[in-house]
């Protein structure tokens, strides 16, 4: 899940972690590379709540049962703490052997510590099973991370509310979306929910307009060079301006959280207060937690971000990302890589889909375990996409990535400008 975004509740703990990280025992193995010598692998993951908490423990136990010489010390860590704990751990001589890795620019930044293991030689026999998706965990063509699940952003909508407004098929172009919004409004339904407080949901909108306006190569170049001076990015701002002028979002969206409460945008969708939301595939899981409506799953449908007339981007391209792992350098590298192979095995991947609702498994062979038609539609859009653009704030290094989110959020709040968005990634003047 994309819990990294919930940078709120664990905050006090995160500050404590600054001090605590220095004292944390990483428990690096002392053994040599001999594969039969007893080894202890420390594993930092962000599944601090059920069901993931139990599943990861089970995965570690099962692996230990099959490989008695490898003991896995599971260390669940509050998601928001990764921001501060990982840099500190990678500075120390005792980092965890495996830790949560979201890939992209953040991974490239972490690589500067010299502590990320290049897993290429260990995973080359099987990484091909994951397909192109694993590329998002590469830096300079080298595999420094391995995904365990994938994400795709699209529209989650209430089939009941669409029917009420007389909308029979989901929109496929932006003008269609705008006219559907008008129909929903005419029936007293707020069309689209937006959790603007967290900034990144705002960014999804601008990024999707950019993915529709810019060709794949322009997006790729923009991300690699942290440069968005290509005219199509400014066109995205123009599209967004026109779309915002139609007032498609719930009132006061600037202060609405994205997740974790009935008053969040996910909660609004779950409780029928809005008809749709542009969100990742974690939305059904979030929605379930924010409502008492047991049948919410069957009420949700999915459609892709509509085409923008005249755009250079392929209309099948999607915005997405995923969760994965990195191993740190040292004696445990081979064992670490082997354990990651186990996590990506069809068996474990299916377990993650059915028990943890992870959305899309990293291993496509496990996709058959998806039962929800809406999630299936999202998975299919992901698999058939001409290009999967990683969320820009993740594809870019952390600093410009978050500066971009902030500049877009300011724009949504009526305090920004196109030049502020474009310049946010290329200068640090976004402070």
């Amino acid at each position: 899940m994309r819990d990294i975004r919930k940078a709120r509740f664990g905050l006090v703990a995160a500050l404590v972690a600054l001090a605590a990280a220095a004292c944390t025992s990483g428990g690096s193995p002392t053994s040599n590379a001999n594969s039969n010598a007893p080894q202890t692998i420390t594993w930092w993951h962000n599944g601090t709540a059920a069901p993931l908490l139990g599943i990861w423990q089970q995965v570690a136990n099962d692996y230990h049962a099959a490989h008695p010489n490898v003991t896995i010390k599971v260390d669940p860590i509050q998601n928001e703490q990764f921001t501060t704990k990982v840099p500190l751990a990678l500075q120390s001589n005792d980092p965890p052997d495996i830790f949560q890795q979201w890939g992209g620019g953040q991974e490239a930044t972490q690589l500067q510590s010299g502590k990320l293991a290049n897993l290429g030689q260990f995973v080359s026999p099987w990484i091909g099973e994951l397909g192109k998706a694993a590329q998002a965990w590469q830096v300079n063509g080298q595999q420094y991370g391995i995904p365990y699940d994938l994400h795709v952003v699209g529209f989650w909508y209430r089939k009941d509310l669409f029917a009420k407004a007389g909308i029979t098929t989901p929109p496929t172009t932006i003008p269609e979306l705008e006219s559907d919004n008008a129909k929903l409004k005419a029936h007293g339904i707020a069309p689209i929910g937006l959790g603007g407080q967290a900034q990144w949901p705002d960014a999804f909108w601008w990024e999707y307009f950019a993915v529709r306006e810019c060709s794949t190569s322009v997006i790729q170049q923009g991300m690699t060079a942290s440069n968005m001076s290509a005219p199509c990015f400014s066109k995205a701002t123009k599209d967004l301006t026109a779309f915002l002028a139609t007032n498609p979002f719930e009132p006061g969206f600037n202060a609405v959280e994205a997740q974790s409460s009935p008053t969040s945008s996910a909660g609004m969708l779950a409780n029928g207060k809005v008809a749709m939301e542009l969100q990742g595939d974690w939305e059904p899981g979030e929605a379930k937690g924010d409502t008492t409506d047991k049948s919410i799953d069957s009420k949700l449908g999915w459609f892709a971000f509509p085409a923008v007339p005249g755009g250079q981007g392929d209309p099948s391209s999607v915005l997405g990302g995923g969760d994965g792992w990195s191993c740190t350098t040292g004696a445990a590298e081979p064992a670490c890589a082997q354990f990651l192979q186990y996590i990506d095995s069809t068996e474990v991947q299916k377990q993650l889909v059915t028990q943890a609702s992870i959305g899309l498994p990293a291993n496509p062979a496990a996709e058959s375990a998806i039962t929800s038609p809406a999630v299936k539609a999202a998975a299919q859009a992901h698999d058939t996409a001409a290009y999967v653009a990683v969320y820009f704030d993740q594809a870019l290094p952390t600093n410009p990535g978050l500066a971009l989110d902030a500049a877009i959020a300011n724009f949504f709040a009526g305090k920004g400008s196109n030049s502020a968005i474009i310049n946010s990634v290329s200068s640090s003047s976004g402070h």
Binding site: V12, E257, N399
Partner: protein, 333 residues
């Protein structure tokens, strides 16, 4: 016994009489004096040592590190190699968002003194009277302070959500015109947060002032009443002046607290929308920790430290001087 003797010799002069003892004829000879002096040193070492070590280890040394980091462009990974001198300071001090954040801190501090203080004094005077349900009322005003800031922030962000309980209440009271975007409006959000901060901390101020009021001898009030002073005169001429030291301490705590405002703001708004509720600490956390610009973040912390330190020193020097000198009665006379 040397111990009792030296203790007795000190008499009412206390510590100030120390040197006299050593040179005085009453002392029973060199060895006991030395023993007493050594004992005192050991006492001091035992009592002051641990806190001093903690202070140095967890306050002083990190401060030095922060100053050191602030001179580098450092994202937390790899060695400190990119020395950039005072460039971070230039960035912070000329940054428009930092100016906004600083202004917000100042607004909160001024509002605290102008609004929270009179309310606290009024309620403290009220609760100081003998009346029915006094304990229950005191408990009620103090309760919010007991809650953690995170709890009240989550609670208020739900209460204040658009169309939420507060809006519904206003509507059913026929005050629908008062409904606003409490947290979504860039011009209102800071004042909404000030309201929540006030709700949370007013109990602390009241309890502090109540304690101050308890320390005022009732005889003074009674004597004034016998002399024909009205209730207002008693309050104005006797209670408030005698409450002076407590009020000055409260202002000090309130201003420092305002400068360090973080938890409630971060949880309720993350400093937004569009930086409209950014404080220096939310700015520090976002730009330092979240954007992994640890050198820049350290710079903000040094600037914040200097601001707080200068204020604290100036306030001690000019406002708290009389209080710390123990000149309570002179202040009244």
């Amino acid at each position: 016994m040397a111990r009792t003797e030296s203790t007795r010799n000190r008499g009412p002069g206390g510590l100030a009489a120390g040197p006299e003892i050593i040179s005085g004829p009453a002392a029973a000879g060199a060895p006991p004096k030395q023993r007493s002096a050594r004992r005192k040193r050991i006492e001091l070492a035992i009592l002051l040592g641990p806190p001093l070590i903690l202070f140095i280890g967890f306050v002083f040394v990190p401060m030095i590190f922060a100053i050191w980091y602030s001179l580098y462009n450092w994202n937390g990974y790899g060695p400190l190699s990119d020395f950039i001198g005072l460039q971070n300071y230039q960035g912070v001090l000329t940054g428009p968002v930092f100016h906004q954040a600083l202004l917000h801190n100042i607004i909160i501090a001024v509002l605290s003194v102008v609004i929270q203080l009179p309310i606290s004094i009024g309620l403290a005077l009220l609760l100081n009277r003998r009346m029915r349900g006094q304990t229950a009322l005191r408990l009620a005003v103090f309760t919010p302070y007991v809650l953690s800031q995170a709890t009240s922030a989550v609670m208020w962000s739900m209460l204040l959500s658009h169309g939420g309980p507060v809006d519904s209440l206003l509507k059913s009271a026929g005050l629908a015109a008062l409904i606003h975007f409490w947290l979504a409006s860039t011009s209102l959000v800071l004042y909404t947060l000030f309201f929540v901060v006030t709700w949370q901390f007013i109990g602390f101020g009241i309890v502090l002032l109540l304690a101050g009021l308890q320390g005022i001898p009732p005889e003074l009030r009674e004597a004034a009443a016998i002399d024909g002073a009205t209730a207002w005169q008693v309050t104005r001429r006797i209670m408030l002046p005698l409450l002076g030291p407590t009020i000055r301490i409260w202002i000090f705590l309130a201003v420092i607290g305002s400068l360090q405002l973080f938890d409630i703001v971060w949880i309720m708004t993350l400093g937004g929308p569009a930086n409209a509720s950014q404080t220096m600490l939310t700015y520090l956390y976002f730009n330092g920790a979240e954007r992994t610009q640890f050198g820049y973040g350290a710079t903000v912390s040094v600037v914040l430290f200097i601001i707080s330190f200068v204020f604290a020193l100036a306030y001690q020097r000019y406002a708290l001087r009389r209080d710390t000198a123990g000149a309570l009665t002179r202040a009244v006379g």
